[in-house]
Point group: C2
Chain length 208, copies 2
């Protein structure tokens, strides 16, 4: 990021601050994902943003603060999906598709990938709990949908936690090899994965 | 590990050394997986083995040496699977099952999980290449089998790399949550995953 980019798009004072803070989070997340959380310093982030470390402290208190904000971003995203599912209509298959495809897109962003790529061992116990809580939100939602599908006779009677582990495993791993659609378009990949998952768990072949 | 365990089962001098070296690798791998490679020191490993750091240097040169030996163990495992597939008979489905179920068991061990859980960013470029080479060996084998299945008309005409990414993603992720069968028996899980994967990619439902 150049100095000019950092200084541009000034709106209100508060909006201005918010935008710069977002830039710190964005670049922090990217470096955590590229180099590992342990191998990234606030100096690295300041250097990448072309600002001083002192300026960074105006937006965040420390490195863990950046990570925590990224995790909070993921939690908000997941709460949004949960609300959309609670408010909306649609068959079990449609709802599984909505959940997995949205998660797949989220996880391919730098902010989203943090939750998957950061080694939990590097974090304090309370931060670790935050990540686990965030993860289990979608996990529980998908498990509920799977159990509903089993009750309806459209999904094979497999332990629901094994199904969610297979699906989230495949999705989470994409954060390692296809972040920011580095190899293939993540939205297209989401469609292909969806076809594999659904035929894999449905009692009859899906329409796809 | 107690001092008594460390000293027991002495055979020949060379065998003795080999066994103690294996114990260093085993404990090293476990700590890397539990705490992260960056967060583990040779002191931690010595403490866990109840030996001095000086004794550790008799078996390995440094921390990266331990990780490298674990990676080499995985590479040997993968070469073994490759040989078994090359020498053996069996349908495409049977061979895919052989490859994935064996890999799934391997990845649930501490030595096997290292290759998946270690952040590549923590390693030197040459070590990183070793891991990639090792990973791509099985990846290429599975992709070949998938393409053969597509040619035979039994597997859906999906880009083979998307199929291997889905399958290996789901398997690799188990190293995060089910190492040493912590949650559920990994061999049983391998059977369930196999049923999901196969129905997910075959043009007709599998016999399972």
């Amino acid at each position: 990021m150049t100095k000019a980019e950092w200084n541009q798009s000034v709106v209100s004072r508060e909006e201005h601050r918010q935008q710069k803070r977002d830039a710190v989070l964005q670049v922090g997340a990217k470096l955590f994902n590229d180099r590992g959380y342990e191998n990234t310093t606030l100096d690295d982030i300041a250097l990448e943003l072309n600002i001083s470390k002192r300026t960074i402290y105006y937006y965040v208190q420390n490195k863990e603060d950046i990570l925590f904000e990224c995790i909070r971003g993921s939690l908000e995203f997941m709460q949004g999906v949960a609300k959309e599912l609670a408010d909306g209509e649609g068959s079990v298959v449609e709802r599984i598709n909505l959940l997995t495809s949205q998660y797949m897109i989220h996880i391919s962003t730098d902010i989203g990938a943090c939750i998957v790529l950061t080694q939990l061992a590097s974090l304090s116990e309370s931060r670790r709990d935050e990540i686990r809580k965030s993860m289990s939100l979608l996990d529980n939602l998908l498990a509920d949908l799977v159990r509903q599908g089993i009750d309806e006779g459209i999904i094979k009677p497999i332990p629901s936690r094994m199904i969610t582990a297979a699906i989230f495993g495949a999705i989470n791993w994409t954060a390692r090899w296809n972040r920011n659609s580095a190899v293939t378009d993540q939205a297209e990949l989401a469609g292909v994965f969806s076809g594999i998952f659904l035929d894999g768990i449905l009692t009859t072949k899906s329409a796809s």
